[in-house]
Amino acid sequence: MLTNNEIKKLESHAEAIRETIIRMLVAAGSGHTAGPLDMADIFTAFYFHILKHDSKNPEWEERDRLVLSNGHIAPVLYSTLAHAGYFPIEECLTLRTFGSRLQGHPERLRLPGLETTSGPLGEGLSQATGMAYALRMDGKKQHVYCLMSDGEQEEGNTWEAAMFAGKHALSNLTAVMDRNNIQIDGMTEDVMPLEPLADKYRAFNWHVLEVNGNDIGAFITAVEEAKSIFEKPTLILAHTIPGKGVPEIEFDYHWHGKPPTKEEGERFLKQLRTMGGSVPHDYA
């Protein structure tokens, strides 16, 4: 268990990551807002506590592998990598511009620290599964994590991977689903009902945990439990609030695929400051 002080420290990282996300989206003028904001706590938990990784040696062989499947939430990945020391935070403002390493969707060959190229949905779980399978084949101890969206559970490729991982009882694989209930065209259960997600994964021979994905301490505890399950791969259904951190856009699916304007960005940053932790910059 983490102490309150440790959790507070992680929360302040998450807030700084959110601040950068808003700034980079305003600068880019395009991109996704809700998903990156709601996943800031989980990314913080991974890069500032859970993962074995080295920002100065991104291809370190002993590192754990984190595969981001839904590449459209790239801003939270970039912001987190920058805050974790992979590249300068200012570079985040080049998001989606010509010549930038921060492509609209993550490209492995352009930016150190990426396990794969992603964006087309439904492919990350499968690649993570392939990594976990090959690592286990070689008797390696690294753990493989896959972060995926709920919307991409509509892709057949996701379930092909779930079936394979279940068959081989890949206990070195933990998938985290951002269950924020929104996708581009609306609420997931209106677009294409996904529930009962937990039962579906259990039926595919997965261990399933449910957690508040915006509670960093609870999330870390869930990952620890997942790693203690030796019989199966684990799915953590992380219930998150889309747009988390900016009260005026929370729960609103319209913010899935658009960025804030400059004025909105200024307003959002002021709202962010009402959360715990401090924001050192004076943006407005």
């Binding site: 794969t116 499968s126 991977a161 394979f164």
Partner: protein
């Protein structure tokens, strides 16, 4: 006459020339590649007998991955395995891989530059009785459009064996196309093979037409060249097992010596091997080109010989194409 430097089969024009399928060459080649490199693995989508992956499974059971009927997962699991150091060969029918999983190959293998070797079996109309759904005729086009993708179309089982071994030694994505039908093994273990190199099979003293061919139809082209030669029509046959990257020098060398080019492939003429030749020569050395291949239709059931004759890919069709260009 035959090019001696190609070290072709001693009984090349005999009726009893050995016949094997190029997929047989996959089966032997991938076992040899696996013996040479412990990172070689084979993933197969419920087709281990007909893709000839069975022998590999027998010898390396722990390195054989049964995927079930899931071609999208076939590509993406392989990508993930390659990311942690494996050299995956993925075997299925070309109609499904790269037919069904094209986007997975594009994003997670080509754009991601993973050294996955996509092995498309049962390509072409010579698949025979299975009919149009299983006769892949668009794979060369699909794969050669992908940046960084090497595209190999071996001419016989022996060359297929060498192509598989060579593919395992590259750290890039490779597509290899294989056929189902038993076809003459016209090359030998002495025949040179190198990715990116074309090979002259036949060369008359005064060639008027160049026949550029890929896959097992290069043997059909050889038979046609011999018949034409007996009738006083000289040709050169350039066998092109690497469609991409094209051996531009060899193609240009042939084009400069002849009045016209015939291309031969068991694939749609749109986007395939003949297209690649026409694209290149139209910029470098424009001359009349006649492309033999499938002309914007799907295949159908039949025997391989019936189908190849029906779609204009038999010896007589190649001879006619040469004569037409000389008119």
């Amino acid at each position: 006459m035959l090019n001696k430097a190609a070290h072709l089969s001693a009984n090349i024009f005999a009726d009893d020339i050995e016949k094997l399928s190029t997929r047989d060459g996959f089966g032997t080649g991938v076992v040899e590649a696996a013996k040479a490199d412990e990172n070689v693995v084979v993933l197969c989508a419920d087709l281990k007998e007909s893709t000839r992956a069975e022998e590999f499974e027998k010898q390396f059971p722990e390195r054989f991955v049964e995927m079930g009927v899931a071609e999208q997962n076939l590509a993406t699991i392989a990508s993930g395995m390659a990311r942690v150091g494996k050299i995956p060969f993925v075997a299925s029918y070309a109609a499904f891989s790269p037919g069904r999983n094209y986007e997975q190959i594009r994003t997670t293998i080509a754009l991601n530059q993973m050294p996955v070797k996509v092995c498309g079996m049962h390509a072409g109309v010579s698949v025979g009785p299975d009919g149009a759904t299983h006769q892949m005729l668009e794979d060369i086009g699909l794969m050669r459009m992908l940046p960084g993708m090497t595209v190999l179309v071996p001419g016989d089982a022996e060359e297929a064996r060498k192509a598989v071994i060579a593919a395992a030694q590259t750290d890039t994505p490779v597509y290899i196309r294989f056929g189902r039908a038993n076809t003459p093994v016209f090359t030998t273990s002495e025949t040179p093979f190198e990715i990116g190199k074309a090979m002259m099979l036949w060369e008359d003293t005064e060639p008027s037409i160049g026949i550029l061919s890929t896959g097992s139809l290069s043997y059909t082209a050889l038979v046609a060249a011999r018949a034409l030669s007996e009738k006083g029509i000289g040709t050169i046959i350039l066998h092109v097992p690497t469609v991409k990257p094209l051996d531009e020098k060899a193609v240009l060398d042939v084009a400069r010596r002849v009045k016209g080019i015939v291309t031969v492939e068991e694939h749609q003429v749109a986007g395939g091997f003949g297209s690649a030749i026409a694209e290149f020569l139209s910029e470098e050395h424009a001359l009349p080109i006649h492309r033999l291949g499938i002309k914007d239709v799907f295949g159908q059931s039949g025997t391989p010989d019936e189908l190849l004759a029906h779609y204009g890919l038999d010896t007589g069709s190649i001879e006619n194409a040469v004569r037409l260009l000389l008119k």
